[in-house]
Amino acid sequence: MRRRIVFLMLLGTFIGLTIWITGIGKLGIYSTFTGQDLLRETGVHLQYVGFAELLAIVIGVSLGVLVSRPWAQKHKISTLVIGAAGMGQCIPSMALIALMAPLLGFGLWSVIVALFIYGLLPILRNTYAGFRSIDPAIIEAARGMGMSRGQIVRRIELPLARPVIMAGIRTSTVINVGTAALAVLVGGAGLGRVILTGVLSRQPLITLQGAAPTAALAIILDFLLETLENWLTPRGLKVKKAQA
């Protein structure tokens, strides 16, 4: 409950700041961004995050399922793949986005690919961890009753790992809302453009006009995904243990 209140207060502050600065209009020779501008940039920002996350979820979960198979573990493929994904996240976000420009040119694709690489690890790692945390006896019972491999993944493993996977998606999304602000460096748009405009014109208020809604966006998405996570957690995993 207390967390909720802090949440709402922060969110209120950020939104309030944004509205206030937008209302100022003129700052010396500069003018602040209009509400329409902000909405448009927020829309673009969300598109970047959404598109990259979609890719990261599809590929991250599939890879996570693949590397959690017994043969992948036996041949140490799991360690390799997760290690490689970890390297992606080791590269500072700004460097990663900047590296994309020479490879993929300035524009949309550089942004999406960079965000995808950045968002992949939490999802992949959590999917793998979620599958690994399932009691082997459950899988053995399922096999012993004649479930096929596919049925075991769909009916048993995925539902049981879902809360952990969702937590990974949440982490990944929140990270990428921040990282997407760097899209402007490779010719993208989004709220990063507002921030950069403020930096270049040495107008802290304009910088804040981009930063505050970015933060608000992260908070809102975090809250929405948490609700979704809760809703997707199977009821049997939420009931209190009656007896030990």
């Binding site: 053995e140 019972a141 049925q151 049981l160 009931v239």
Partner: protein, 374 residues
């Protein structure tokens, strides 16, 4: 019928877990695979439903080689219960039990009826109280009942059980064993049951396959195994108290003296005393006019010249057996009772027989003599 022909299992790392086992399990029999840990009993069990592929040899079910069937279809026709149970925590009790019927695409109504029937069978009543619960809401014993019900889901003719009662506290285990034996009376499945507990094996099995180091040492009925251990390993494994263990296999009705002498409560003491002298016994059971057992008359309480009726001097009984009481329990009761004899009564309380130490001794001597003379 399950038939194992020279079955071996060699793991990729070179361990020989099972070294050429041949075994036949007749339809409807309860076969226990018994042995110390690492003897290959669980590996043998898991080869029957192909959870572990065999290296060489053949396993036939009703004459058909198990490798000729699709492995998932094979498993759907064989019930499987394990010590860790492995209930699906995100599914309700009902959904867990319905696992195999669903895989077999049974119609909904039939699945629902089957689930209720099984919950009743394993003693989770009333079914509607349990069907929508989740495994986390159940006790350990209840969970294993669900595990057994799930294994019986689609009414498979064969049941494989890997130490199903191993992780349960001794009191609940005893009760689950008794209940499972009662269930088996009803359903008559062909069961392969793995355990390392000799007492459980003796109690549950029609036949015991004792294994050691991947080999079958002796395959026999519990009585046979106890009375005639094949070698020192078997003798050690069944334990020095094997005679006492054998008691559990016998029922009172097989050992008791039928139609024992008795006195009626309303008879006179002098008559009763005379009868005891003639029979040369120190205790006589006392019954009422309908033949219901009331207590004991002790010869030492009778003094010459004492007048009166038997009921005035009668000692009420403290323990009773029925014809179906296992002999180990009966023996224990005999030690508890001051009389040293045990009255056997039927459901109506009528005296049906008498169990004495002498009779018990004779019977046990009989079955073990052959071996003593070796």
């Amino acid at each position: 019928m399950i038939k194992l022909e020279k079955v071996t299992k060699i793991y990729p790392d070179g361990t020989e877990a099972v070294k050429g086992i041949s075994l036949e399990i007749p339809k409807g029999e309860f076969c226990v695979l018994l042995g110390p840990s690492g003897c290959g009993k669980t590996t043998t069990l898991k080869m029957i439903n192909r959870l572990i592929p065999l290296t060489s040899g053949r396993i036939l079910i009703d004459g058909k080689d198990i490798t000729e069937v699709n492995e998932n279809e094979l498993r759907r026709g064989i019930g499987y219960a394990i010590q860790e149970i492995g209930l699906f925590p995100h599914m309700t009790v009902g959904e867990n039990i319905a696992t195999v019927p669903r895989l077999l695409h049974w119609p909904k109504g039939r699945i629902q009826r089957r689930v209720e029937e099984l919950l009743e069978l394993v003693g989770l009543v009333p079914p509607e109280e349990f069907v929508n619960k989740y495994p986390a809401e159940l006790s350990g014993g209840q969970r294993q009942r669900v595990g057994v019900a799930r294994a019986l889901g689609a009414d498979p003719p064969i049941l494989l059980m890997d130490e199903p009662f191993g992780a349960i506290d001794p009191i609940t285990r005893e009760r689950l064993q008794d209940e499972f034996l009662r269930i088996q009376e009803e359903i008559k499945k062909t069961i392969v049951f793995v355990t390392h507990d000799i007492n459980e094996a003796i109690k549950m099995g029609d036949r015991i396959a004792l294994m050691r180091d991947g080999r079958l040492v002796q395959y026999a009925t519990p009585a046979e195994l106890l009375a005639h251990p094949k070698d020192d390993f078997v003798r050690d494994f069944v334990g020095a108290d094997r005679t006492l263990k054998a008691l559990r296999l016998l029922r009172v009705r097989e050992v008791m003296d039928e139609q024992p002498p008795s006195v009626e409560a309303s008879e006179s003491l002098s008559e009763a005393g005379e009868r005891m002298r003639q029979l040369g016994v120190n205790f006589l059971p006392v019954v009422d006019r309908e033949g219901r057992f009331l207590g004991w008359l002790n010869r030492s309480a009778l003094r010459p010249g004492r007048e009166g009726r038997v009921q005035e001097l009668m000692t009420p009984y403290s323990v009773l057996a029925t014809p179906d009481t296992p002999l180990n329990e009966a023996l224990s009761m005999m030690f508890e009772s001051a009389v040293g004899n045990l009255a056997v009564v039927d459901g109506e309380g009528k005296l049906r027989g008498l169990l004495t130490f002498r009779r018990m001794h004779e019977v046990l001597r009989e079955s073990y003599r052959e071996e003593d003379e070796k």
